[in-house]
């Protein structure tokens, strides 16, 4: 990634020198600082899948995360730096790995480190960033790089990766992008370098895009999404993605009342279904590593979870994990209740195994710099379902300071 940034710096220096013979413009420096602190507790179901807590599910976690966002801009160069430093203290539920409990960890990383050179009708950028698009809350099947939207977990930031990106505004309606995924960044799971062409259309009530992507060791992937403002209150959207002859599609709509409720419904269908991904078995604020969970619940990858011959034999002899294929999301957002209180009610339902997660999230703005928030999630479903197998309840509360 450093090579990419250095190359971009060299390119931009050349562009600046060529474009501004009359003298340099002042550099604009913008910095905001947010500090997130929260505690989270989970309760396990009485009849659970992971009886020995092999996943190492946390009972309590205390998180402190610094989120400074720095922007340096001097036309035509725009540099964004979003370093992150988080300190995490965890107490695990009783399980096999007692050494992991009562531990404090810390991590320093860049959520965003990218440089952009931009003109009136084009830009090129390189570096680390989260590249998420489309209107959906649940999942973005048209995104060949990362379909996880991070919109089901309030306060979570999407995993960023390393990209080279160029975009040209062809006309006032059409724009075209070329995207290269050059490194996995902070993403987990399998990774392969990938290139994609994205063609965007934006006119009147319609916004949409068509995406074609290719990795060296994979077949072509295609995707598309469209958003239509059907009236001043109703927004409809659809998204589709294909990979290995499998089609994943999402349909959604939102309606905003004059009393400011924003009501949303989404339906997601994955043609072949999957056993290899934990789609939405997420904690509200701190997601359990989905790849770990995927390995745990997948028979195909079961040996990887227990690579050591000394490891105890799994107590779950045969997992008939349900195929995750059809999902429904219902959501209501009420912003600025009494001007200071935002409310989110969300329910995600697995239509195949009839398990689900209900979430209530409230955020209270206290003064200019402080936001307090609290969330409660309740999971339902039996022992062999996606949402019912691991966690019964999760509750978190915390604050965000902004300067």
């Amino acid at each position: 990634m450093n090579k990419i940034i250095l190359a971009c710096l060299g390119l931009s220096a050349g562009i600046v020198a060529a474009a501004e013979p009359s003298g340099p413009e002042p550099i604009q420096l913008t910095m905001t600082y947010r500090h997130l602190m929260f505690v989270q507790r989970t309760w396990l179901p009485s009849e659970r899948l992971d009886v020995e807590n092999r996943l190492g599910l946390d009972r309590d976690i205390w998180v402190s995360e610094s989120r400074p966002d720095l922007q340096i801009f001097r036309a035509p160069i725009d540099i964004q730096m979003h370093p992150r430093w988080n300190i995490l203290y965890r107490e695990q539920h009783p399980g096999l790995d007692t050494a992991s409990t009562g531990k404090t960890e810390h991590e320093v990383y860049f959520q965003t480190l990218r440089m952009q050179v931009r003109g009136d009708r084009w830009f090129v950028s390189g570096g680390r960033q989260a590249l998420v698009w489309g209107p959906a809350f649940l999942y973005a099947p048209s995104n060949p790089f990362d379909p996880y939207t991070a919109r089901l977990e309030p306060k979570a930031e999407p995993d960023a990766a390393d990209y080279l990106l160029g975009e040209v505004l062809l006309t006032d309606r059409w724009s075209s992008s070329l995207i290269l995924n050059t490194g996995r960044g902070r993403r987990t799971g399998t990774f392969s370098e990938k290139a994609a062409i994205k063609l965007d259309y934006m006119d009147g009530p319609l916004h949409g895009a068509v995406i074609l992507a290719k990795a060296s060791d994979e077949k072509w992937q295609a995707g598309a999404f469209s958003t239509a403002h059907l009236s001043e209150a109703v927004i409809g959207y659809a998204e589709i993605g294909t990979k290995d002859n499998d089609v994943t599609a999402l349909l959604g709509a939102s309606y905003t009342t004059w009393q400011r409720w924003m009501l949303t419904a989404e339906y997601l269908h994955q043609g072949a279904g999957t056993r290899d991904n934990a789609f939405f078995g997420a904690l509200p604020l701190r997601n359990q590593d989905s790849s770990t969970m995927a390995r745990f619940i997948s028979q195909d990858h079961f040996p990887e979870t227990f690579p050591s011959p000394d490891a105890p034999t799994p107590s779950i002899p045969s997992l008939e994990w349900p195929i995750r294929k059809n999902y429904l999301l219902l959501q209501a957002i009420y912003p600025q209740w009494h001007r200071t209180f935002d409310v989110l009610l969300q329910y995600v339902h697995n239509l195949d195994d009839h398990s689900g997660r209900a979430l209530i999230y409230g955020e209270w703005e206290s003064g200019q710099n402080l936001r307090l928030f609290s969330t409660l999630s309740a999971y339902h479903g039996d022992q062999m379902t996606e949402f019912g197998s691991l966690i019964a309840y999760a509750m978190a509360t915390g604050l965000m300071l902004s300067f």
Binding site: P135, H207, W258
Partner: protein
């Protein structure tokens, strides 16, 4: 039948007489739109102050606009700094730091207090609404043309607006906003203390300096938008593209 024809003819004649001497509605509405920021390129700052149930909250936004498109970025308070609103062809996208990408939202969403997202955008009533004349009226001694505006396009925030435009200054000084069902949503009063040279050649234009929104004339809750003097200047088209938000 004979009497019906006579009655219709009389009404038509009366309407023509009433409109006689009035300039075309489109001309007046266009002039009023210009005073609400319908220009080639412009930048200004908006201070929003909402008073509800005896409590006051404030927000400051930096706004850049060009021919109906608008980009507004919250500067204060720190809690909302960086929140960005894009209005493109009357369609709204919202982005805030930490959000993975911009989301399409309805113009009905509230900015603060009684101000909706759509209230920040410049107006284009001359193109988007069909105007019917109502009887002239005076507001604080200022004689106004009064128009009953009905939405021509789909997807506009307000289905119907009663719009008072000063006969002398050609600026809209009061608006009553209605839903499709005919319910009064809110009333706005506007002031124009800014005079700008829009082309550096001495072409002067009044520009809105304050907009005060109330739910009804008797309500004590009110939201005030105070506009700084605008700075005319070109704004690149790519600024108003949804793909640029958060990138």
């Amino acid at each position: 039948m004979k009497y019906s024809f006579f009655l219709i003819f009389s009404f038509a004649l009366a309407a023509m007489a009433a409109n006689a001497g009035r300039p075309p509605a489109e001309e007046i509405l266009l002039a009023a739109d210009r005073a609400r920021g319908h220009f080639e390129g412009m930048a200004w700052t908006v201070e929003v102050e909402a008073m509800e149930s005896g409590r006051t909250s404030r927000e400051r936004l930096g706004v850049r606009a060009a021919t109906g498109n608008l980009l507004a970025v919250t500067e204060e308070p720190a809690n909302r700094r960086g929140n960005t609103l894009l209005v493109h062809d009357d369609k709204v996208w919202f982005y805030k730091p930490g959000l993975s990408r911009p989301v399409p939202v309805s113009q009905r969403q509230r900015l603060l207090g009684l101000a909706n997202y759509g209230d920040l955008a410049s107006t284009d009533y001359a193109r988007q609404y069909r105007a019917e004349y109502l009887e002239d009226a005076a507001i604080e001694g200022e004689l106004c043309y009064v128009y009953d505006l009905h939405a021509i396009e789909r997807g506009l925030l307000y289905e119907r607006i009663v719009w008072w435009v000063s006969q002398e200054r050609k600026v809209g000084i009061r608006a009553d906003y209605y839903t499709l069902s005919g319910k009064l949503i809110k009333t706005a009063r506007l002031w124009y203390d800014h005079v700008i040279d829009i082309d550096d050649k001495g072409t002067l234009q009044l520009f809105c300096s304050r907009m005060e929104i109330t739910e009804s004339l008797i309500s004590k809750d009110r939201t005030t938008l105070t506009f700084s003097a605008p700075r005319p200047g070109p704004q690149p088209p790519s600024l108003f593209h949804v793909n640029r938000l958060g990138r």
